[in-house]
Symmetry: C2
Amino acid sequence: MAVQTVASTTDSAAGTSVDLGPAAALSCRECGHRVPLGPVFACEECFGPLEIAYDFSAYDTEELRKRIEAGPANIWRYAPLLPVPADVATKPNINPGWTKLVQADNLARELGVDAGKLFVKDDSGNPTHSFKDRVVAQAIEAARAFGFTTLSCSSTGNLAGAVGAAAARAGFRSCVFIPHDLEQGKVVMAAVYGGELVGIEGNYDDVNRFCSELIGDPAGEGWGFVNVNLRPYYAEGSKTLAYEICEQLGWRLPDQIVVPIASGSQLTKIDKGLRELIELGLVEDKPYKIFGAQAEGCSPVSTAYKAGHDVVRPQKPNTIAKSLAIGNPADGPYVLDIARRTGGAVEDVTDEQVVDAIGLLARTEGIFAETAGGVTVGVTRKLLESGALDPSLTTVVLNTGDGLKTLDAVAGTGMTATIRPTLESFREAGLV
Amino acid sequence: MAVQTVASTTDSAAGTSVDLGPAAALSCRECGHRVPLGPVFACEECFGPLEIAYDFSAYDTEELRKRIEAGPANIWRYAPLLPVPADVATKPNINPGWTKLVQADNLARELGVDAGKLFVKDDSGNPTHSFKDRVVAQAIEAARAFGFTTLSCSSTGNLAGAVGAAAARAGFRSCVFIPHDLEQGKVVMAAVYGGELVGIEGNYDDVNRFCSELIGDPAGEGWGFVNVNLRPYYAEGSKTLAYEICEQLGWRLPDQIVVPIASGSQLTKIDKGLRELIELGLVEDKPYKIFGAQAEGCSPVSTAYKAGHDVVRPQKPNTIAKSLAIGNPADGPYVLDIARRTGGAVEDVTDEQVVDAIGLLARTEGIFAETAGGVTVGVTRKLLESGALDPSLTTVVLNTGDGLKTLDAVAGTGMTATIRPTLESFREAGLV
């Protein structure tokens, strides 16, 4: 079995002719070794993760800013900074992004943050209601460039829907692998887009292991696994969160940003995006702090952070925040680096605090977040109480998904009262 | 009991000082009698429905167009055409609107519509994922203007969530009335925003009757019922669908538009919005056709249309399209007028066709619609087959809500196959 994880000479040759805009090569995050663009994700020298290296040298800052501002109200306004062809916005895709940055003054008041300083970046406004639409949109363009005809992934929820929807619109076949005993609601959400949905008899680890085998097998030929062999492209989608936050703040960096941690990829790419904006001169060069948020029931990175470790010891997840429940997060060490380098921190909250925070955000700002949003809001509260977050600084909290997808977490929420349809019964209920 | 349905002298006096932008008065749709702006909804002369009369006389067409285009990416870009104060965008609200108009070439191919001619206006992108956010946002501004402190409504779903979220963010108390036996998921969606949620022992008609009593009772003083005493303001929110469609088409009218019918209010306000754009010179004056869509299990308007009647005979609803299940639609006669005047039609589809259409839209465009969206897409297919819709003309189909809210309708959708985590088992499943 020849698992196609590293760039071989053949792959490299195949990859040289693709047009993915400013993406110039793949570069190893560990050793810096460069290979041509191709459907590979691990360095042939050291097995480190490959990421996109760009050539932004031709850009004039003010021309670039104008080009972005004149662009569409979705992630493709940032096409000049992404691994996509210049004409990406003309191709059929579900066009995620440009979600609301909500000035959360009611929440600020409850948390003791200065008025006008707290913002929620609400990614539940994406087409399938999670930030996954951003990353899948990049993977689709890479899949087109490399000639793949089937899009695939392993998933337990948000990603399955995002791949199904994007593949349907873009004209790809999709085949998504999920654990066979997934909740019926999530199965429906993934199946409705008409792609193949295959249940695997086993747990999520078994699903992942099977996908890795399939990539190396002739049966998987022509298949782009968005979070495996297309991962370097896919992951770049998270940079758009950083771009949007800064542009929506009036081309300013936030002072503090609170990001959920699953694999840790999103946090590292937000950092990458912020640094790119500084290097390009689109925002002033000033310090910012990045904070990571986990649920206590799956907190390998915050545990390592608090212990002062550089490595992350895997955990067996046990939390209601299922979209963050990755016990062995691939980018965990990079998250630790970034939190420490920027002066941030990594913190976790209990499931009970997650549920409380979902309710807090809903009743203050009218935003119904999935459990991952409860994690970031809960961690924000905890970090304000501990003094790690400064309540006088501009702070952005991410909500990466939609409460409609994790209704079970707030199933305890219910009616204030039940009455007969009479004014007398209404008065007796004590609501006036 | 003095139900406050008609404008009394006192109400009129109280209403004169409010600033609701270009809204000049309330005008009876039946007899044209005008009264000052106030929290009333029925004509004191003939009991006809009151609607907003505007003063747009000061507007210069090209200045107005520029002002709109420079406005925010939400409904408030159209503030000059709505019953809201000029500074509405600076007030806390959930800012719905400016949802995607998706060029649906895949769907067009399946339905036999010319390439580039079919569009889906996808209102599932609103904050609480239905078009109700548009109407509630108007009601909130009227409630502010009239000094109400509690927002209320009767609801069986989408409206409850929209009111709960908007009230939370805008700083109103909310008290929403629902049938006591509503599905648990819908209760959770409505309760999470922290307002009062009161179950009424009875059906939806009992809930409505109770709300009418409450409006006339001291217990309901200071209460704005978004779809009762604030209805003239509330209903105007649907005009923004017409404005957005035309602006997103490049300031062009569509030739044909397919709209779902519940009370019929949305369809009549879309017509009103299109006519305003013509009168203001923002689009060219040319014919357009409006088509109404119902589910067969609640089709009082299409039944009347087909029978050539001017009046609508009430029906007892029995359909999975619950958000459209109004058996006695208040605006039914106006819908008949508009369909006939514009050369459109009213049609209905079976629940089975609704489910098929939800799947069709999902697998062609990656849009997961609620049952109401299945109704409009299903009716579009039927009207194309009958020749009532011209496949060579620019056609817009509305999706007014999100499939995540009506998962039961597609519960039959499931996995293609279940396999063991081996390549052998995968090959046996016949997927490659």
